[in-house]
């Protein structure tokens, strides 16, 4: 997407978001100016957001096209979305499987992502990392790490 199109699309997003914020802030209660309520700052913020999104939208039309902005930029590739999925999966299994297993799966998978190397080396590296983290965070710094249903 070229910058101009990106700006147009993103400004629409901010416009809508600003609108939502304004509506919800009015419902929360702005209070009076003498005794401001919780909705006052969100209201101001929402209104500013709407205003600025309009400015950006208009700028997308009127700005002279610079060379660097003419190029199309691809947003995201399969690696990024895969890593995102991985992260979500990790968060999901963090408590259920416990720190050790979840992290082992997570690291093992990601280590192989960019370049396939031997599973043994990958597994060993993951295990080594977990051991270090366990020693530093759990034993020394006493950070509570979750145990899964398997008990560790």
């Amino acid at each position: 997407m070229k910058l101009r199109n990106r700006d147009k699309k993103s400004s629409v997003f901010w416009f809508v978001l600003g609108g939502v914020v304004v509506i919800t802030s009015l419902r929360t209660g702005v209070g009076t100016l003498t005794s401001p309520g919780p909705g006052l700052l969100p209201l101001i913020g929402g209104l500013l957001m709407i205003l600025l999104s309009l400015v950006i939208f208009l700028q997308a039309f009127s700005r002279e096209a610079k060379e660097s902005e003419q190029e199309s930029v691809k947003i995201g590739n399969w690696r990024i979305w895969l890593v995102t999925l991985c992260l979500v999966f990790y968060a999901f299994t963090f408590n259920k499987l416990g720190f050790t297993i979840a992290t082992f799966l997570f690291l093992g998978f990601l280590f192989q992502l960019l370049e396939r190397k031997s599973w043994l080396m990958t597994g060993l590296t993951a295990a080594a990392t977990i051991l270090c983290v366990y020693l530093v965070f759990y034993v020394w710094l006493q950070v509570q790490l979750p145990r899964g249903f398997l008990g560790f």
């Binding site: 700006d7 003498t34 500013l48 968060a91």
Partner: protein, 502 residues
């Protein structure tokens, strides 16, 4: 008093750890000081606030030192303030002069850091005293001014930067409203009652989003193979670079005080200035030592003086100081004009440890070059999972809640998308951390004035601050219309242009 605090063995150790870790992450591209400080924050819960800040501060200015190593050796900036150093530093390496380049960068950073700490020592208490006479309306206007200057100095569209600041402000509204005690925008999620969390935000926006950006390309790292000889610059090198070091130091120290005027702008500006004042400007870009000395001094000076507004007035100037502000709050130290009077041990302890830290860094950076070069050999396919893992671990460790992991991931995706759509991330973090203060000051002002917004304009100091803010926001638009094709007469203007267009 500060000296005795900073010389305590525990604090010395923490200072060393901070500087070491800071240099390490400065060397490693893909993770920066903001994310690292957020990551190590939970680890500091068991240490007292003074020690914690000493260590975290060490990470920040240590990263400024470390970033120069990769820029010079392999043409990859480890940290944003070292981008300009690549220009001449890498050329010097190709000419076999990596040693003097590294040496000059380290010494320049040391000089700048020392000047910065002196500035901190004298300016911060003074500014704090002035800020104590601020009432809520002045404080409100000061925050508006800070965000305006940040917007002015940010590259890209000002409207977009302002929008990001507003976004950050709104994010700051999520959580329990301080006055009424009601939950705002929490959607019934308990994890959001305390707000989204500065740690989650910093980790996501700066840790995970950075990894995503790197995953876009195959990151091919050229490994540095040669041995490094002659670490010490020759007498001629000194002669050529000392002026650059001093000029760079002052530029960096001055710009570092301004919100948004940090490592990037000061390093670009000092490079531009050196090129203008040099007798051999054609040498720049081909391995001119002043082109290494000045930006390195500037980025260090800037990271040192960034503490001035934070410690004297509770106004962070960039995302790193914003996270540090979060650290102070978590440790029970309220940032603001009362910080220095109420916690003199903290302030002077940190200041003195900065002197010590600068010396430590000078020593760390020269003999340990070999170590840093080894670190660079870690392939990215191993590095990025570790970065992501530690990012998530850090988020988890703040509150032992898995919801924090999800929040961090969301910020990661958000940060990546925002960057792709050309939005600046710094205003979000700054506005977010300033939101509670801003809202409180706003409400108190309205209470004082009986609901009238004119109070901000009736009080002289507040009016001045708002006028400056207005000027900062309106000036560029005016300038574009009035001075269409004016040639820059002064070096600093061209430097600003380069900095602004980055």
């Amino acid at each position: 008093m500060g000296l005795s605090t900073s010389l305590q063995p525990m604090n010395l150790l923490l200072c060393f750890v901070g500087c070491f870790v800071g240099t390490l992450i400065g060397v490693l591209p893909g993770i920066g000081p903001a994310g690292t400080i957020a990551l190590l924050l939970p680890a500091t819960f068991r240490i007292n606030p003074v020690g914690a800040i000493i260590m975290l501060a060490g990470i920040y200015y240590g990263a400024a030192y470390g970033g120069s190593t990769t820029s010079i050796l392999v043409n990859i900036p480890g940290e944003v303030g070292s981008v300009v150093t690549c220009l001449d530093g890498y050329q010097m390496t190709k000419q076999g002069r990596a040693g003097p380049a590294l040496g000059v960068a380290a010494f320049g950073s040391f000089i700048a850091g020392t000047i910065g700490v002196i500035g901190l020592m004298f300016l911060a208490p003074e500014l704090s005293r002035i800020a104590l006479s601020f009432g809520p309306p002045e404080y409100c206007s000061l925050i508006v001014l800070a965000l305006a200057i940040l917007t002015f100095l940010s590259s890209g569209s000002m409207a977009k930067s302002l929008l990001m600041a507003v976004f950050g402000l709104l994010l700051g509204c999520i959580g329990i409203d301080p006055v009424s005690g009601n939950a705002r925008y929490t959607f019934g999620i308990p994890a959001l009652l305390d707000g989204v969390g500065i740690v989650n935000m910093a980790m996501g926006l700066y840790g995970i989003a950075e990894v995503f950006e790197n995953l876009e390309q195959e990151v091919v790292r050229t490994v540095f193979k040669d041995r490094i000889k002659n670490l010490f610059p020759t007498l001629k090198d000194w002669k050529d670079s000392i002026g650059a070091m001093i000029r760079g130091s002052f530029i960096g120290c001055f710009l570092g005080i301004l919100p948004g005027g940090g490592a990037i702008i000061s390093s670009f500006l000092s490079y531009a200035v050196e090129k203008r004042v040099s007798k051999h400007p054609e040498r720049f870009g081909k391995g001119e030592i002043a082109g290494v000395a000045a930006p390195e001094a500037a980025n260090n000076g800037a990271s040192q003086t960034a503490f001035i507004p934070l410690l004297s007035m509770g106004i962070p100037g960039n995302s790193v100081t914003a996270v540090l502000m979060g650290a102070l709050i978590i440790h029970g130290v309220q940032p603001g004009p009362l910080l220095i009077p109420r916690h003199p041990d903290l302030f002077w302890g940190v200041v003195m440890s900065m002197y010590i830290g600068n010396i430590m860094l000078l020593i760390l950076n020269l003999p340990l070059i070999g170590l840093w070069v080894q670190v660079l050999k870690v392939p990215y396919r191993l590095l990025f999972p570790l970065i992501v893992f530690f990012t998530l671990l850090g988020s988890y460790a703040t509150n032992y809640s898995v919801e924090d992991l999800y929040i961090t991931i969301i910020f990661g995706v958000l940060g990546y998308l925002l960057r792709k759509f050309n939005y600046q991330l710094v205003p979000i973090v700054l506005a977010y951390i300033l939101c509670p203060l801003f809202e409180q000051a706003l409400r108190q002002s309205l209470l004082i004035s009986d609901g009238s917004f004119t109070i901000f304009f009736r009080r002289p100091l507040s009016l001045v601050l708002l006028a400056l803010a207005f000027f900062a926001l309106v000036f560029p638009a005016v300038k574009r219309r009035v001075w269409k094709e004016a040639k820059p007469k002064f070096p600093w203007k061209s430097g600003l242009k380069i900095g602004l267009s980055y």
